[in-house]
């Protein structure tokens, strides 16, 4: 198997991270924001795997498992809150969630 340089993996992860981040910044719909966060988390996971691959350790992959689990709980809670939010405001626009300010 031809070895892929670690940097490539990291750069890919970086690009994914920035894409996810842009999603968080640009989208207003909560669901999409949650999705974008998933992308960011997974990009971090990818970076871990790339790094683990560089050192030939399983640690990176283990971290990825942690990240997966964490992302799942986060989405679970996040969707519940989004639902509640929708019930109250009849919208999923996060900008509507700005009653507290100043």
């Amino acid at each position: 198997m031809a070895s892929v340089p670690v940097e490539y993996g990291l750069i890919l992860a970086g690009i994914l991270f920035i894409l996810g981040l842009l999603g968080v910044l640009v989208r207003r719909n909560i669901i999409f924001i949650l999705l974008s966060i998933e992308v960011m988390l997974n990009s971090a996971g990818l970076a871990f795997i790339a790094a683990g691959y560089r050192w030939g350790q399983p640690d990176g992959q283990i971290m990825f498992f942690f990240i997966l689990a964490m992302a799942a709980t986060e989405v679970a809670v996040g969707l519940a809150l989004a639902l509640q939010f929708y019930n109250k405001t009849r919208t999923l626009d996060t900008d509507a969630a700005s009653r507290m300010r100043g």
């Binding site: 968080v24 910044l25 640009v26 969630a97 700005s98 009653r99």
Partner: protein, 632 residues
């Protein structure tokens, strides 16, 4: 010595009177108030006279007696004492102060009878007498300074005695502030003297000055100049004379006691006391003479144009003190004190007489509304006339003649004298006679214009008579060579003050000078008769010409000094006070507050409540931190 041991009682008695009156307030009856007020001054006078007799009878060793009461303080080598010194100079002063003071107290007990502030008046008067005596008796300059400020305070309190009138308050403050300018100079003088010579005890100071400083020494000059500053303020000499005419706002007895007889001459006393310093600083001493000469002329001209009888007397006082300064300036210390004494008698007399007139005419001060009063107030007229004659230095019969003649003679003959000074003095003598008799003619001669409502009683008459007598005989203790050559007063003074150093002058020269000095007053009186009694219209016509009226206004306003001071000192001060009322040094702090508020408003705008914006914040932070990595 037992008599001397009572020395402290002389100032203490009036102080005690003050304290009693201040504490009891208006609860005492008027009679009791008067008894305490005048009584304490009278008792003080009695002790003074007894002490004086004893002093002349058997002088203490060194011709001086010092009584130390307690050590005021002792700090870093500075060790002033509360101590009184009795010598010829102070004895002469306290005699005049207590005697005139008592007479005026007596006069006031009737004069002020209708006033609601009766006890307050006597309290202040007693405080004044006490302070004045402290000033005169003080053995060191700090205690002298205490008395000095004390009399200034009383002057303030009494000028503004009728406090409900705002103008009186203004006049009082003006007096205090202007004199305090001089006092501050004097204070700095004290710092200088102590710093360089290490003591403020007067005799020791003089000795050390003699030892450490030669004639013309800069330090001596500075010290003398600074003390002179104090004297100028207190004695209303150029350029600090402006307060005295306004000080006439006070009750007339106050003008008589404080602003004629005693306090205003404190400057003369101070210079005489510290004459050693002035001798060491010929330049400053010359300045004293010149200031005296100029002042006596300027004030004389101003007196000529006044319509308020008390202001005439006030300018006259300035002018007469000018004579005393002239005397001091030429080194005729005793002559100055001699003139102080006679001046105290006749000027107090004139003021008291004027007071009777004013009281009789319902507080009328304008001489042009008076006239022909000699029939209605005969005693007042005659005593006033005596006083006027004495002030004009009418030859031979008046005290004023002898003292003024001595000054004029010294101005010519003294080492430090000069014909110019003499000429100024002579011109002043003529002027004095002119304005004095202008006043006499306007008030007591001519047609009767008003009725006198209130005639003086005994308490007023007695002081008038006594002072009239003193105004005549007071001069016979010192006569020129051609008139018997009595030198009782100066000889006595020589135990405390050095004699004047005269250039050798032929006896005929002295005689010629005397003739000239004797001629000036009658000429002045004649001119006054001409212009104000015989042909008053001349004056009116003269005053209505453009230059005449301008000159009249110029003299009337006291040579424009008030105007200048108002422009260069008072107004800038008020202007600054007005614009800076809210303290512009606070602006930077207010600016900080505004900046804080501004930043707060800005930051509050960042808290939009929108989650995406918050995320932007995090990203910006991350970018900044990462770029720091690149750049650092």
């Amino acid at each position: 010595m037992i008599m001397f041991k009572l020395l402290w009682l002389i100032p203490a008695l009036p102080f005690a009177g003050f304290i009693i009156l201040a504490l009891t307030g208006s609860r005492l009856t008027r009679t009791r108030t008067a008894v305490i007020g005048a009584g304490s001054a009278g008792l003080s006078m009695v002790i003074t006279i007894l002490t004086g007799i004893r002093f002349i009878g058997s002088p203490p060793p060194g011709n001086a007696y010092v009584q130390v009461l307690w050590t005021w303080m002792s700090v870093g080598g500075f060790r002033p004492e509360i101590a009184f010194r009795l010598d010829a100079l102070s004895l002469a002063m306290i005699t005049v102060v207590t005697a005139v003071g008592f007479l005026i107290h007596l006069y006031s007990s009737e004069f002020m009878a209708g006033d609601e502030g009766y006890s307050r008046f006597f309290a202040y008067m007693n405080l004044f007498v006490g302070s004045m005596l402290t000033l005169v008796l003080a053995d060191n300059l700090l205690l002298l300074y205490l008395g000095w400020e004390g009399v200034g305070l009383c002057s303030y309190l009494l000028i503004g005695f009728w406090y409900k009138d705002t103008y009186n308050g203004y006049a009082a403050r003006k007096a205090f502030v202007v004199t305090r300018i001089g006092d501050t100079a004097m204070g700095i003088g004290l710092f200088l003297l102590f710093t360089v010579l290490g003591t403020l005890q007067i005799q020791e100071l003089m000795q050390r000055a003699l030892q450490q400083w030669g004639s013309g020494n800069v330090m001596a000059g500075a010290a003398a100049a600074l003390l002179l500053g104090g004297a100028l303020g207190k004695s209303a000499q150029l350029p600090l004379q402006t307060w005295l005419p306004d000080a006439m706002a006070g009750p007339t007895p106050v003008s008589a006691l404080i602003h004629a007889a005693t306090m205003v001459t404190a400057g003369v006393y101070l210079i005489a006391r510290t004459h050693v310093l002035f001798s060491l600083a010929p330049l400053v001493q010359a300045a004293v003479a010149v200031i005296g000469a100029v002042t006596l002329l300027i004030a004389g001209f101003s007196a000529l144009t006044q319509s308020d009888i008390k202001r005439v007397l006030a300018y006259s006082t300035i002018s007469q003190i000018g004579y005393m300064f002239l005397a001091l300036g030429v080194g005729a210390w005793s002559a100055a004190i001699f003139h102080f004494m006679t001046h105290a008698f006749f000027k107090a007399l004139l003021f008291l007489g004027a007071g009777v007139v004013i009281l009789g005419l319902h507080n009328e001060h304008n001489m042009f509304k008076m006239g022909g009063l000699r029939k209605q107030l005969p005693l007042t007229f005659w005593t006033f006339l005596i006083g006027a004659a004495s002030l004009s230095a009418l030859p031979l019969v008046t005290a004023g003649y002898y003292s003024k003649d001595l000054i004029l003679y010294s101005a010519w003959a003294s080492e430090a004298g000069s014909p110019l000074l003499w000429a100024a003095g002579l011109a002043g003598a003529l002027l004095t006679a002119l304005y004095t008799f202008r006043m006499v003619f306007l008030v007591f001669f001519g047609e009767e214009k008003t009725r006198v409502e209130r005639k003086p009683g005994m308490q007023i008459k007695i002081p008038l008579i006594i002072l009239a007598v003193l105004s005549i005989i007071g001069g016979f203790v010192e006569t020129p060579a051609s008139l018997g050559g009595l030198h009782i007063f100066t000889k006595f003074m020589y135990t405390a003050l050095p004699p004047v150093v005269n250039l050798p002058l032929p006896a005929t020269g002295e005689f010629i000078l005397e003739i000239e000095a004797a001629l000036a007053p009658p000429i002045g009186i004649f001119i006054a008769y001409l212009f104000f009694l015989y042909r008053p219209r001349y004056t009116g016509r003269l005053a209505s010409t453009p230059s005449g009226s301008a000159l009249h206004r110029f003299w009337f306003s006291g040579w424009g000094f008030d105007w200048i001071y108002d422009r260069i000192i008072v107004r800038p001060f008020l202007w600054f006070a007005r614009i800076d009322k809210n303290d512009f040094l606070d602006l930077p702090y207010l600016g900080t507050i505004w900046a804080g508020k501004g930043v707060n408003r800005l930051l509050v705008h960042t808290q939009t409540g929108k989650v995406r914006w918050y995320a932007v914040g995090i990203v910006i932070g991350a970018i900044l931190a990462l770029s720091a990595m690149v750049f650092l």
